[in-house]
Amino acid sequence: MIARWFHRRGWSDLVIGLPYVWLLIFFLIPFLIVVAMSFGTRTSTAPPFGFGGENPAINLAGYARLFSDTLYIRAFVTSLTNAAGAMVLCLLIGYPMALGLTRVDRGWRNILLMLVILPFWTSFLLRVYAWMGLMGSNSWFNKLLTGAWNWLVPQAWDVANVPLMHSNFAVVLVMVYTYLPFMILPLYANLERLDPTLDEAAMDLGSRPFAVFRDVTLPQSIPGIIAGGMLVFIPAAGELVIPTLVGDSSSPMIGRVISDEFSSARDWPMASAVAVALLILMVGPMMIYSRFEARAQARERSE
């Protein structure tokens, strides 16, 4: 009896159930704790927050401050624009690379795919430090750029060095470098499945190569673009290390704000409120999109 259950439904239940259990224990429960904390009040006890007693049972002060203190709004705007910039650049760089990967022959393809994921084999921090070295004002790279700039522009605009470090540009640059494989791999997986005879069919019907791309390849790769875009945008928006090391400390990103609130300010309720707001900002559009997608599919089926 049990053996039979295990043979038929058991396995599929287990396989489907395990990720849910995982998500429940390691995502949903911690998240609920964070949500609860965001309604708490900062105290000098340990842990540094409390509910009730002399404090209100539900304290919305943290959420109120999100809107009253421009620090938070600016941090959100910086994070979202930096992440969006990184995502768009990753798409512009990654799409041709992914498309190119599908057009080279098998042997080369594996080598090139290896090269795409090769950077993961060295420490992430090490690679960010390498960028810091490159961008610093005394590096050969910076000197080269400075020389090129001074040579190109009129003398009045000459600079001693190009201010690369500690800017949003540096953050976006390093994020593009770091997250590019997350764009390329899902795009490649998507593009690789497309039927090349469809391109020939479009060409046969009078389309030049660019029109073939626009009408046939691009529309069919939208799922890949969305997957890659989310894989870049979501971690980039919450990125902590890169803006801390190469970013402009006067306009912090939201990850930095959360970290500061938790550690140096020891304001856990505020940190939690920021984290919850970030999650809503990320998940909201995703849910709207998937709702929209499901509706489009349902409409298609009913037609």
Partner: protein, 363 residues
């Protein structure tokens, strides 16, 4: 005489060291249905892809409507192709698929719409206009592909095994549909197939291909009745073939056929000399079975070894005293029960055939 629409002159195609198409020369007239018939891997698709412009010939030239196609890219050729897999755009509705090629045509949106509607009517798919390709059946997809390829009024339509994915009944139906569409549109069709019956039904002319070489070109009847080689004779229908040597020329040619243990009279053809080795070939349906001895030339006595009853006709295998087997195809014209049919297992029978039915093949 009008100029041929398609002229293929000495075209060869190699992939690396492998020669897929060897020195093919063909002329295809305007308005004809021309079939490329041949076994798997003989280069039919490769030849078609060269006409569409997806492959460049390694050697030789292709002219369409008098224009050398060497430097003309696929999107500028007056040729459309219906792909073996149909290659419908999965993200576009039936309507959009059919109208895709018209985007490149200078015509008003209203005209474009009207043209799409006309094409959908032609293939009877008007009710399915807004569906996506995955929401229609295989046969309907095939018709969408046809409508899409015809929408821009190409001079030449290439069809790569257009009916291969359909079941037998639908295939027969679609064959006639294709022919009637071709008649109404006047477009020249080149149809690739490996189904000889399909080629015979559809085509005005057939080219039989073998390992990259065109073995024979002609009307279906001519290729069937006057094959120029054993390969063609075998490929189109079945045939009894025996080694023979010419013994006498004259009004009729006599050949000695060791496997039959006798000589056979054939209608005179040119180009043979006494003593030459030939293949004596005879289609099974050209042989008559008799239950009583008959007099004359070209009579063989034997015994029924095997018999297959198909309903409207039967196939007999007759063993001769020499041990050779001859296939005979006979129509079951009269209704017969099991015990009074034309011939039965182990019956002694006599076979006769006309000298004009005998083929003498040198290749």
């Amino acid at each position: 005489m009008t100029q041929a629409l398609v002229r293929i002159e000495g075209v060869s195609k190699s992939f690396g060291s492998f020669q897929a198409v060897k020195n093919v020369s063909l002329q295809i007239e305007k308005g004809e249905i021309f079939s490329l018939l041949g076994g798997s891997g003989c280069g039919k698709t490769t030849l078609l892809r060269m006409l569409a412009g997806f492959e460049a010939p390694t050697q030789g030239r292709i002219f369409i409507d008098g224009v050398d196609m060497a430097a003309v890219p696929p999107w500028e050729r007056p040729v459309h192709m219906m792909f073996q897999s149909y290659a419908l755009f999965p993200h576009m509705s039936v309507e959009k698929n059919v109208g895709y090629g018209l985007k490149h045509e200078a015509m008003s949106p209203a005209d474009r719409k009207a043209r799409v509607r006309e094409m959908l009517e032609l293939v009877q798919l008007t009710p399915f206009a807004t569906r996506k390709p995955h929401q229609i059946s295989g046969g309907q997809r095939q018709r969408v592909a046809l409508a899409r390829a015809l929408a821009r009024q190409p001079k030449l339509l290439l069809l790569d095994e257009p009916l291969a994915a359909l079941d037998k009944k639908l295939r027969e139906h679609t064959q006639f549909e294709l022919m009637s569409i071709q008649e109404r549109t006047g477009v020249t069709f080149i149809v690739v197939t490996h189904d000889q019956e399909e080629a015979m039904t559809l085509s005005d002319r057939i080219a039989v291909m073998d390992q990259g070489v065109v073995r024979q070109v002609g009307r279906p009847g001519a290729v069937y009745e006057f094959p120029n080689s054993k390969f063609v004779a075998n490929f189109l229908g079945s045939i009894n073939a025996f080694e023979a040597s010419v013994t006498a020329l004259g009004d009729q040619i006599s050949v000695d056929v060791p496997a039959l243990g006798q000589s056979v009279q054939a209608r005179a053809v040119g180009g043979l000399i006494v003593g030459q080795n030939v293949t004596m070939a005879l289609r099974p349906e050209k042989i008559t079975i008799h239950r009583t001895p008959v007099e004359g030339d070209n009579v063989l006595a034997g015994e029924i070894k095997d018999l297959a009853y198909f309903g409207k006709d039967s196939l007999y295998r007759v063993a001769l005293p020499s041990g050779a087997l001859v296939s005979v195809h006979a129509v079951n014209a009269a209704r017969a029960s099991d015990d009074d049919r034309l011939a039965d297992w182990y019956d002694k029978v006599w076979l006769s055939f006309d000298p004009s039915s005998v083929l003498l093949l040198t290749d």
